[in-house]
């Protein structure tokens, strides 16, 4: 495995848009004065020696080391069954790992987080699933407001009619960001696949997450809509200063919308390096080599 530490490789637009970004700003200091070394961005996900084996003895992955920093957009790639989704779920505590140590958003745990850790983690993470997981018979607005569930005092978030006024306004704002404000009243099961996935993104964004996790967000969409969804993801993560980690088996999506690519192959990290240093041949090696 080749591992290249990646720090602060987010696009200028992504970092620049974030208030209080890590770029030093010392206009009074002349060019002869050596600028202080830039501090590394805070760690969002760290994993050491992570392994996962299913109860039937089938090994999914082993020896996985990862260090994902704030503001990065990381694509987790690999062929079907490579363990991308399982790794993603282990990293955020939704699935227990078999061995290794994980530190996600400051919560350090072996195998699985405690109940309290999981609650704290969930409050800081936004999720987008391949199948969007919207409640079909509810309105788009209700689905977005339901993104608040699990946060403190959120019991009123199960329907927009009960939700606080500021949540309703916040939901309309994120719907506008995904260009669906005009569909707030529509039922979710009347949306196209791309629109439904945009609602799922809005539902994740309303949580104001530090980390956005997306599991094959464009897998069930046609190519043009899939690119649109990935572009929205990438732009909004940058604008909101959210660390984005997504799984994909689409090489182009990984190359176009990430700062860093982690490739899984045969249960190991095949390579982990900045996207700019990944060649199409490297990508071919992941899927066919």
């Amino acid at each position: 495995m080749e591992h290249v530490p990646v720090q602060n490789v987010a696009t200028p637009s992504a970092v620049g848009a974030r208030p209080g970004g890590s770029e030093p700003d010392h206009p009074q200091i002349g060019p002869l004065v050596k600028a202080p070394a830039r501090a590394p961005a805070p760690q969002i996900i760290g994993a050491r020696g992570l392994a996962k084996t299913y109860p039937n003895g089938q090994a999914v992955f082993a020896g996985v080391d990862l260090d994902i920093r704030a503001d990065q957009r990381v694509a987790l790639i690999g062929s079907n069954g490579a363990g991308k989704s399982t790794l993603l779920k282990c990293l955020i505590g939704l699935l227990p790992s078999t061995s290794g140590e994980i530190t996600t958003l400051g919560e350090r745990f072996l195998a699985a987080p405690t109940g309290a850790q999981l609650t704290r983690l969930r409050r800081q993470i936004g999720f987008v699933f391949q199948n969007h997981g919207l409640v079909g018979r509810q309105s788009v607005l209700t689905n977005v407001i339901q993104g608040k569930l699990g946060l403190k005092g959120s019991w009123r978030a199960w329907h927009h009619a009960l939700a606080r006024q500021e949540w309703r306004e916040e939901a309309m704002a994120v719907l506008a960001e995904v260009r669906l404000a005009d569909k707030a009243d529509a039922r979710a099961d009347q949306l196209s696949g791309g629109q439904a996935q945009r609602v799922a993104i809005a539902r994740a964004l309303i949580r104001r997450p530090k980390l956005l996790i997306a599991d094959e967000p464009a897998a069930s969409l046609d190519p043009a809509v899939g690119r649109d969804i990935m572009r929205i993801f990438s732009e909004l993560a940058g604008e909101h200063g959210i660390t984005l980690v997504y799984t994909t088996h689409d090489m182009q999506h990984a190359l176009d919308y990430s700062d860093r690519i982690v490739a899984l192959k045969d249960g190991r990290v095949h390579f982990d390096r900045p996207t700019a240093r990944v060649s199409p041949r490297d990508m071919e090696g992941v899927f066919h080599g």
């Binding site: 999981l118 969930r122 079909g136 018979r137 569930l149 699990g150 199960w158 329907h159 949580r207």
Partner: protein, 277 residues
């Protein structure tokens, strides 16, 4: 013997496959079971089925009874009394069904496999729902008349129990079949079981819940009509009095009213079901 090749017709070039047998083969156990059920049916026929001569003797008596029932009583005083009894019947059905549906929602949730917060303990409320369902409503009515006294309250309680037995099961089954993906999405962000129920499960199964509730209302109207026969209020009580006092013209008017009520209720619930699909 799904597909075999006939040696007579098969050619070296094209192998011909025989069609499957016309009738499926039957195992010895299945054959024995069919014979036993048929024997039981024939034996029961001899015991309880009406003989042709019995039917022939009964028909003139039936005709005589129908003759004494006609024309139905249309005396304004009687019709007014019957109107109040019909209203009471509908009240028993409506109040009993609404309370029954309200109780069935948590019962359905507590007993639904994979959703219930009780885990293996869900079998206890499930057994209770089964008990409510399997004991006939007239037996419940007798129990409530004995404990709460004669009248509409006993009828209402009977409908509540009957509705919980009916809706509790159907609500649980609907919740078990609800789309799992939204539930997983809400669980992943830390929503608790109650909010997943309210936010994802109930909206998804709402048409089924409404459908089952309307069937329960229809069933409750039919039940509440006969509950009066054992003293649990409603129009049935009036019907029993009419037969006991040989007031057959009153009885025919009541039977006609029951027919109209049940028909109207079926029409109404059909329309509502179509609306909520």
């Amino acid at each position: 013997m799904a597909s075999t090749t006939s040696p007579d017709t098969a050619s070296p070039a094209i192998a011909r496959t025989l069609p499957p047998p016309r009738l499926p083969s039957i195992s010895p156990i299945s054959f024995t079971l069919i014979v036993v059920v048929a024997a039981l049916f024939l034996a029961s026929m001899g015991q309880v089925a009406p003989s042709p001569e019995k039917l022939a003797n009964g028909l003139p008596r039936m005709a005589e009874l129908v003759g004494r029932m006609l024309p139905p009583n249309t005396d304004p005083g009687f019709l007014q009394r019957m109107g109040w009894r019909i209203l009471e019947t509908l009240q028993i059905a409506l109040v009993g069904t609404v309370f029954g549906v309200i109780i069935s929602l948590p019962m359905g949730w507590l007993t639904a496999r994979g959703i219930s917060p009780l885990g293996a303990l869900r079998h206890f409320p499930r057994a209770l729902v089964s008990l409510f369902r399997t004991v006939p409503d007239l037996v419940w009515a007798l129990l409530f008349v004995s404990t709460l006294g004669i009248g509409a309250v006993a009828g209402t309680m009977t409908i509540v129990v009957d509705t919980v037995g009916f809706c509790g099961r159907f609500f649980a089954e609907a919740m078990e079949e609800a789309d799992k993906k939204p539930q997983e999405a809400l669980h992943a962000i830390g929503a608790n079981r109650v909010t997943v129920l309210c936010g994802a499960i109930l909206p998804d199964v709402m048409p089924t819940l409404i459908n089952s509730s309307l069937f329960a209302l229809e069933k409750a109207v039919r039940s509440s009509v006969v509950l009066g026969l054992v003293g649990a209020g409603g129009i049935g009580q009036e019907l029993k009095v009419a037969f006991d006092l040989f007031q057959y013209r009153n009885a025919s008017a009541i039977i006609l009213a029951i027919f109209v009520i049940v028909l109207a209720m079926e029409f109404l619930t059909d329309r509502l079901r179509a609306k909520f699909q």
